[in-house]
């Protein structure tokens, strides 16, 4: 009852903001302890992320991956499932993209390859999520455990494939040949160039638009279709779902397929958009960061976009910071990111009660 009286903006705006500020205060203490000026450091970080065109491009490029993985986590979460396997699903999604590009890049034009690659990313990512989903739905294995395990299996599988099958002959590192240019996702700066607009060279590519489209689709799916209705029913009240005749295990399976497919789109951004060849470890922890993004974005597409941009800014600004202030190593930047995750994710409820009480008391009194 008391929850109803808390204004919405407190829950979705004020509390996350205070949590982030707290994280920055603690980060400032860390930077002070190293002997650097935290205000100066914050300046570099903000400038690096938003201060110039290339910086913004990089921030959004990182955000693209985080939107995909954040959406993946939140779709599953809405159905009461905790998909920790975004990392592996993204990895295998990338494999799907890579195989398609290697197969078709010599014979097909971009407009054929692009939709097929996007579909491939989805199918491969979904397939990787299917096995844990099936095990949870039909065999009762806990999805948290199985998806974590599948991250390791994906990683080992990729090493095996890259080393034994996909490595370009004569190469020292386990990576495939570079795709022909018609299998490259166009960079946004290339697209803006003909109009005389210079947005600075950055890896930001068309996949960013795909991410935004996915946000709209996920929003529509969850709140405006009967599948979303079933998914939310299962996620909030499994007994009521059973009562309503909703097949819990069926929902589990298709929700995980969508979740895995969304994570797989990271492969489009990384393989087709930036690296232009298959390689190892291109997922770089985006799958895990997606959990924090979803948590912070309150499992809502708009929140996820904002949270993804914040994390993207931390990645990009953090890199800039490490460059400008050599005593702040990349590891310290990771500490700052970790603090943001800690305060906005794990400690989310630390202040919630108190802040809510602050806003409910005047109403009840």
């Amino acid at each position: 009852m008391s929850q109803a009286k808390v204004p919405v903006w407190v829950n979705v705006g004020l509390i996350p903001l205070i949590n982030i500020l707290l994280a920055f205060v603690v980060s400032a203490l860390v930077i002070l302890a190293i002997g650097e000026n935290p205000i100066e450091a914050a300046g570099y970080l903000v400038y690096g992320a938003f201060g110039y065109d290339e910086g913004i491009g990089y921030t959004l490029y990182y955000a693209t991956n985080l939107i995909f993985t954040g959406l993946a986590v939140s779709v599953a979460f809405k159905a009461g499932l905790f998909n920790i396997g975004g990392e592996g699903q993204a990895y295998i999604g990338g494999l799907g993209v890579g195989l398609l590009c290697l197969w078709l890049d010599a014979s097909m034009p971009f407009w054929v390859i692009a939709p097929l690659a996007i579909l491939g990313a989805f199918i491969f990512g979904a397939a990787w999520a299917y096995i844990p989903a099936y095990l949870q739905a039909k065999r009762g294995s806990h999805i948290v455990i199985t998806t974590i395990m599948f991250n390791f299996i994906a990683s080992s599988l990729m090493v095996y494939l890259m080393v034994n099958w996909l490595k370009e002959e004569g190469r020292m590192s386990p990576a495939s040949r570079i795709f022909e240019e018609n299998a490259w996702m166009p960079y946004l700066y290339e697209l803006f160039e003909p109009f005389g607009i210079d947005i600075g060279d950055s890896p930001l590519n068309l996949t960013f638009l795909l991410a935004l489209v996915c946000c709209v689709l996920v929003w529509g799916l969850i709140w405006h279709t009967r599948w979303g209705y079933q998914l939310r029913t299962v996620g909030t009240n499994a007994t009521a779902a059973e009562y309503a005749g909703i097949d819990n295990s069926k929902v589990t399976i298709w929700v995980m397929l969508i979740s895995g497919g969304l994570a797989g789109f990271v492969g489009v951004n990384e393989i087709m958009g930036v690296n232009h060849h298959l390689l190892l470890n291109f997922t770089a922890g985006y799958g895990f960061a997606g959990i924090a993004v979803a948590l912070m974005g309150r499992n809502h597409p708009i929140g996820i976009v904002l949270a993804a941009i914040l994390f993207g800014a931390l990645y990009q600004g953090g890199a800039e910071l490490a460059f400008e202030m050599p005593s702040i190593t990349p590891e310290i930047v990771v500490v700052i990111q970790g603090l943001v995750i800690l305060f906005s994710g794990a400690l989310e409820n630390m202040l919630k009660g108190k802040i809510e009480a602050l806003f409910t008391r005047p109403v009840t009194a």
Binding site: M1, A4, G220, H224, T225, R226, Y229, Q230, R232, T233, T236, N237, T239, A240, E242, Y243, A244, G245, I246, D247
Partner: protein, 521 residues
């Protein structure tokens, strides 16, 4: 309140409760409870499920703190904040569901939390000696080195009792101790209780079974709807009196209804059996017929198979054996029909627990109003749901059923109980079903809404629907039903016509004391 049992009493009270009240949200679980338990007696607390017995015991044992009132143990006023306080005061509790570690031995379970020292060795040796003494004193033989998970429930319960005694309990609370026992095990338990009493232990026995009270207690207190309604000396009371006190002579509900115009059999269930995951038979060969234009009431103390009956009939849980004939189909364990398919066959179901099952409390009213019918074309376009149609229909129903506030966007959780129930009933009834299963239609619903809901149920009957009504409120069953079946321990133990039913007969049937009445009491 009668206090005759204390007139010639020389004992001090082991426990005395004065004015205990406890409220959970809008539910008054205990209201101004006074209770005196003389030391060295077995004292029964009896009442229907939900009468507030367990809450009261939890207050004594420190799980909850009372809002008001005081507790005296052996004449000393005490504040019991947690179970440690209770144990220190010499109170022990044996819960309905045992609190034992299955993979530990009896000995390990008993010393758990009272290991005595950093090394197990010292504590174990001391415990062994103490246990030997306790076993001899109270006749509680148990193999202390057996693994608890391997023991039958009767012995596990003995371990629980030993555990309490080992911690120095002089007052022992047993919560529904025979719920899991076979009759033989139960008899053995009563002998143990007797031995405990001989040794000066005070026992409080919580139960809803009349037979146990009469078989094993010295005094009995009756609870109803959160209040202590009577105290009796067991020898001076009878099954009939206790049954009446338990059920209570409530204000007679008035429902205007004509003679039913009974039509054809719509649903026929034969020998329905349901065995749960633990292998316990929850439904035992239940057979019933529902006819058009008739309300069949299922009476019974809750937990005697009514919920399982509703779930099996509505297709939520598959039956283990038996068959249902409905809408031209024969449904069996090998040819099941799930909840969605049953809805298609025009069976509607208002579940007993609207929070757990009937609603998704996080949903807005218009979303909750289509639960179970969300796949119907009326609510769907080709891909997107037709929100406009959903909202329009919800508003229409809210007006027709007088749901307040009539706001389809309000979260379901924020409606009052009565209005939530109206949303559920409207949803099920407006689909024009042939059979309506309806569980606890007025639980947690205010008086005004109760009348309204009852009228609607009768109106449906008059419209030729077959209605199965499950309720723990005897008044409700009697006011509405044309035919009443009584369930006990998963089986139907009696059937009477609505016109002939009276509280006493039903009360005895509910306690399964009807058949033995002539001989035993």
């Amino acid at each position: 309140m009668s206090d005759e049992h204390m007139s010639n009493d020389t004992h001090a009270y082991a426990i005395e409760l004065k004015g205990i009240s406890k409220r959970f949200g809008s539910v008054q679980a205990n209201k101004d409870i006074n209770l005196q338990v003389p030391a060295g007696t077995v004292h029964g607390i009896i009442g229907e499920n939900g009468a507030g017995k367990s809450t009261l015991m939890s207050i004594i044992y420190g799980f909850y703190e009372a809002d008001t009132g005081s507790i005296e143990v052996d004449g000393q006023s005490l504040t019991i904040r947690n179970s440690q306080d209770a144990i220190r005061a010499g109170i022990g509790m044996v819960h309905q569901h045992f609190m034992l570690v299955d993979t530990f031995t009896v000995l390990e379970n008993i010393i758990l939390g009272a290991e005595g020292g950093a090394l197990l060795k010292d504590g174990v040796a001391g415990a062994r000696k103490e246990l030997k003494r306790l076993e001899q004193e109270f006749n509680l033989e148990v193999d202390v080195d057996a693994v608890v998970g391997d023991l039958p429930v009767g012995l596990q319960q003995r371990v629980e009792i030993l555990k309490a005694l080992y911690r120095g309990a002089r007052i022992l609370i047993l919560d529904e101790p025979t719920g899991v026992l076979t009759p033989q095990e139960a008899d053995h338990l009563f002998r143990i209780l007797h031995a405990l009493k001989e040794q000066g232990v005070t026992v409080m026995l919580i139960t809803h079974k009349l037979r146990e009270i009469l078989a094993s207690t010295d005094n009995v207190s009756v609870m109803r709807q959160g209040q202590m309604v009577a105290h009796r000396v067991t020898k001076e009371t009878s099954k009939e009196e206790l049954a009446e006190l338990m059920v209570g002579k409530k204000v007679r509900l008035k429902v205007d209804k004509d003679v039913p115009k009974i039509g054809e059999t719509v649903l026929k269930a034969s020998d329905l059996t349901f065995v749960d995951g633990q292998g316990v038979e929850r439904l035992k060969r239940v057979s019933l017929e529902l006819r058009a234009g008739e309300i069949v009431g299922i009476a019974g103390v809750s937990g005697n198979g009514q919920s399982e009956l509703l779930n099996v009939l509505s297709g939520i849980t598959p039956m283990s054996a038996g068959e249902i004939q409905f809408a031209g189909r024969t449904i069996t364990a090998s040819a099941p029909c799930n909840a969605a398919q049953m809805r298609e066959l025009k069976m509607a179901h208002v579940p007993e627990d609207r929070h757990k099952m009937g609603l998704v409390t996080g949903f807005e009213a218009y979303e909750a109003a289509i639960l179970g019918y969300h796949d119907r074309p009326d609510y769907n376009g080709s891909i997107l749901m037709n929100r406009k149609a959903m909202l329009a229909e919800c508003e229409e129903r809210m007006a027709a059923w007088d749901v307040r506030p009539p706001n389809p966007h309000l979260k379901t959780a924020n409606f009052s109980g009565g209005n939530q129930q109206k949303i559920v009933i409207a949803r099920e009834v407006e689909q024009n079903p042939d059979v309506l299963l309806i569980g606890q239609p007025t639980r947690g619903v205010d008086i005004g809404a109760i009348e309204n809901i009852h009228e609607q149920i009768v109106k449906l009957r008059d419209a030729g629907k077959a209605i199965l009504l499950v309720s723990v409120e005897l008044d409700e069953i009697m006011a509405l039903s044309d035919r009443i079946m009584v369930m006990f321990d998963g089986a139907v133990v009696g059937e009477v016509s609505g016109a002939e039913a009276n509280e006493q007969t039903l009360g005895l049937m509910m306690a399964n004391a009807w058949n033995e009445e002539g001989a035993a009491v």
